[in-house]
Amino acid sequence: MLEHDLIQRTLQAALRTGGDFAEVFAEDRRGSNARLDDGRLQSFNSGRDRGVGIRVVAGDTTGYAHTADLTEDGLRTAAEAAAAAARGGGGGTKTIALTRVEGPVVSPISVLPESVEKDKKAELLLRADAAARGEGSSIRQVIAVYADSRRRILVANSEGVLAEDDQVRTRFMVQAVAAGDTGMQTGYESTGFTMGFELFDQLDVEEFARTAARRALLKLRARPAPSGALPVVINRGGGGVMFHEACGHGLEADAIMKNASVYAGKVGELVASPLVTLVDDGTVGPEWGAFSVDDEGKPASRNVLIEDGVLTDYMWDHLRARKAERPSSGNGRRESYRHTPMVRMTNTFLLNRTEDPEEIVRQTPNGVYVASLGGGQVDTATGDFVFGMTEAYLIEDGQITDPLRDANLIGNGPEVLRNIDAVGNDFAFGPPGMCGKDGQSVPVGDGNPTLRVTSLTVGGTAA
């Protein structure tokens, strides 16, 4: 993307005023998406965004500047702006020898989305619409979205790192709206992988759309969710968001180093039920949060965060790892070249235990069964977090019964982790997620086997 010599000269310019560390991050992103709504393919959209972000660190201060002007002048101006922002002392010319860093091959791509005719993408949406509407006249609307992106990055820094990655993602989602006596209800289904158009070789688009439609129809007879603390069983692949919020964000080293996490200073301690082994793994292609190298040029890796309930390590980016004098864990990510990297999750998941998932439900006299979770949000300093349930049912006498209307659940991370009293043997990854932090959004994956929390506060309206 950029000439070797130009990168070296830019890094030198960035360090001329005495910074301790400089980095060039170049990105070229192309994407296309199409949206079907109201029975019509509303529009096709595509675009390209490329540019370079330059970071200079002097002492504890980071300076950052970015530009879409990829000429030598443009890069030098950005390098000088970043250097001025960091305001290092001293100066002089440093020579930087760049050595290529190779990450693991995590997601080989068979069919680049840009090579696929647009009418093939359009056809997927029309098929989804027809299949969802075929589930009955109560299905009033269908939204279907196809999106792909190809993100090529190059990272080079004054420690000699030179790394590149080519990240392709493809996703598909269907939302059906059903209308009945109780008003309107929605059913949702989404999938996405670090794959190309070959995603659709393995996806039964019609069945996928019908699943969304059936969810909406089922919810027409949903009761208001209960209000209050109850046992909650979470379906396999449906509950990764809970771990993402209950502890994932609290295990990010930027929160730890500011003592803004309930998990600060707890490495080696029992922080969860011994049934909990939690992993963050950027290498598990083609999951949604996988990549070869992170946005700081560090190869993706598998990091065990909690093992048998004991906190083993946090997640690290370059800046925080450098301060703690340890290696980065490959968790330095950013939304685009316009953003500074920070500690982010990749694919975060709970490992299997031994219980039979059906037995977990049978052994729950009364509670809530959550088949699918929506997004969530956490305050890492207090550990209080929420997450939404988009498909859930009552459990009565050990049986899954009536569907429930949408609601949030709320809990406290450390308490919830301790209150996990059953973990199944049926692990599955969940649907693709977008994680927001400090105004930046990055793709993340999650997963879990069926599990039970002895008590979570369910935020419905029914007594």
């Binding site: 504890d60 300076g63 950052y64 500047a65 709206v177 309107m184 929420v386």
Partner: protein, 447 residues
């Protein structure tokens, strides 16, 4: 004609026979400074520019965008939008805006003052904020975030149907997120201030309010579940109104996604509820001379005395509904297609101060923060469930703090259950202004 408008006009002049073309060109300069423990933790500043093009031909529309505005990028983007249009579905109402004779409001945006403020002054504000937050109480354990941010932006829209519009905007803000604690307990508080120039930012106000909100939560417990009246603080009310606004768009209505779609002329709220979308109000942060399709901003009555009056429209929904555009086209960034949305919602205020609203409510819950609106509110079914923290209200006074609770109802019920509207209007950098709002019969879930 300014440089950006000339670029946009240059693109649409290349429209071919039978094509309608719209070009939206944006440019922004942003600064973000974070302070931590007396030092600048990070300083980012950059300028960016880009273009989004829409082409409508034979009822099909295509969009394309590029994060650059050089000649090659403009040509490529127009070609790409043209190509994309070939694959979209036919809808005779697909269109771009056409001049409708409505004059834009006389909003004077002094962007030059903020653009000309030296970086050192901005750095000093971030550092001062961090110092002030630390010093505000002996209970402060740490300041997780103390930041200054600003954006000075210009956007221009031109269409082959004759629209030529340009909008400037300047906004700066301070925000801090603090931790306060005693023994093993930590509570957090967030607050911010916004202005059009740095002189409008009040460092000590932001620091003190953030710290006060953390300190007053110390000792918070999870209460038992019950139904009660909630008093939403202005920051929370603004988020609630933004959700209501999202159900009152022509797009939601035409496609059948709005729980209020067929209710025009009917009562959808308490008689005290009058809601207006008014981007012509110079005090609103969402105020602008034009919308994102280049039509003049105008005042749109939505709910009057509890009765639903109408919806906001862009060019497409305006044509399809026969109501005409209300100048409410919106874009969630350059890369997103045009939608329709509110940007300056205002609930007509009452007369009471926040304390008087609390006194009048007597018993209930003061909500200082909500979490998970994106995951627990369904704007199609209307189900509303949000994580919350706040303080109980007893005998008209603020009592003990509560946490790990949710508040739940439906959007439809909450509008009907409005019991008191405060007179304390807060203009926030959101799509609605805030004020203290009391809503009855909400379920608080706890133990």
């Amino acid at each position: 004609m300014s440089e950006l408008l000339a670029i946009a006009a240059g693109v649409v002049e290349r429209a071919r026979e039978g094509e309608v073309v719209e070009a939206y060109v944006g440019r922004a300069r942003t600064t973000e400074i974070k302070a931590y423990e007396g030092e600048v933790e990070s300083l980012s500043s950059a300028a960016s520019a880009g273009i989004a093009v829409r082409v409508v031909v034979d009822g099909r529309q295509g969009f394309a965008y590029t994060g650059a505005i050089d000649a090659a990028a403009l040509e490529e983007t127009l070609e790409e939008a043209r190509d994309n249009a070939r694959f979209a579905g036919v809808d005779e109402c697909n269109t771009v805006a056409s001049p409708d004779g409505v004059a834009p409001p006389e909003l004077v945006m002094d962007t030059g003052k903020l653009a000309g403020t030296p970086v050192d002054r901005k750095v000093e504000l971030a550092l001062e904020l961090e110092r002030a937050a630390r010093a505000a109480s002996s209970l402060v354990r740490g300041v997780e975030t103390a930041m200054y941010g600003d954006e000075v932006s210009t956007s221009a829209v031109a269409t082959s149907t004759g629209v030529r519009a340009e909008t400037e905007s300047a906004v700066c803000y301070l925000a801090t997120y603090v931790m306060a604690g005693e023994a093993a307990e930590t509570q957090t508080g967030f607050w911010y201030g916004v202005g059009r120039t740095v002189d409008e930012l009040d460092v000590s106000d932001v620091a003190n309010l953030a710290v006060e909100r953390a300190v007053r939560m110390l000792g918070a417990k999870q209460p038992s579940s019950r139904r009660l009246t909630v008093v939403l603080e202005p920051f929370v009310t603004a988020q609630f109104l933004s959700l209501i606004g999202s159900t009152l768009t022509g797009e939601a209505v035409l496609k059948g996604y709005s729980p209020f779609g067929d209710r025009v002329g009917e009562s959808i709220g308490a008689a005290s509820v009058t809601l207006v979308e008014d981007p012509t109000d110079p005090d609103a942060f969402g105020a602008s001379r034009y919308d994102d399709e280049g039509l003049a901003s105008r005042r749109v009555p939505l709910v009057d005395g509890g009765v639903l009056r109408g919806f906001v429209h862009n060019a497409y929904t305006g044509l399809r509904s026969g109501q005409g555009s209300t100048g409410s086209a919106a874009r969630a960034g350059l890369s997103a297609p045009v939608t329709v949305g509110c940007r300056a919602l205002a609930l007509t205020p009452g007369t009471l101060s926040a304390d008087e609203v609390i006194a009048q409510v007597g018993d209930g819950l003061l909500v200082q923060n909500v979490k998970g609106l994106h995951s627990g509110v369904n704007p199609i079914s209307g189900d509303f469930s949000a994580g919350a923290e706040g303080l109980l209200i007893r005998d008209g006074q603020i009592a003990e703090p509560v946490r790990e609770i949710t508040i739940a109802s439906t959007l439809q019920r909450m509008l009907q259950d409005v019991v008191v509207i405060g007179g304390d209007v807060h203009h926030l950098p959101m799509s609605a202004a805030g004020l203290t709002l009391a809503v009855g019969d909400v379920t608080m879930s706890g133990k």
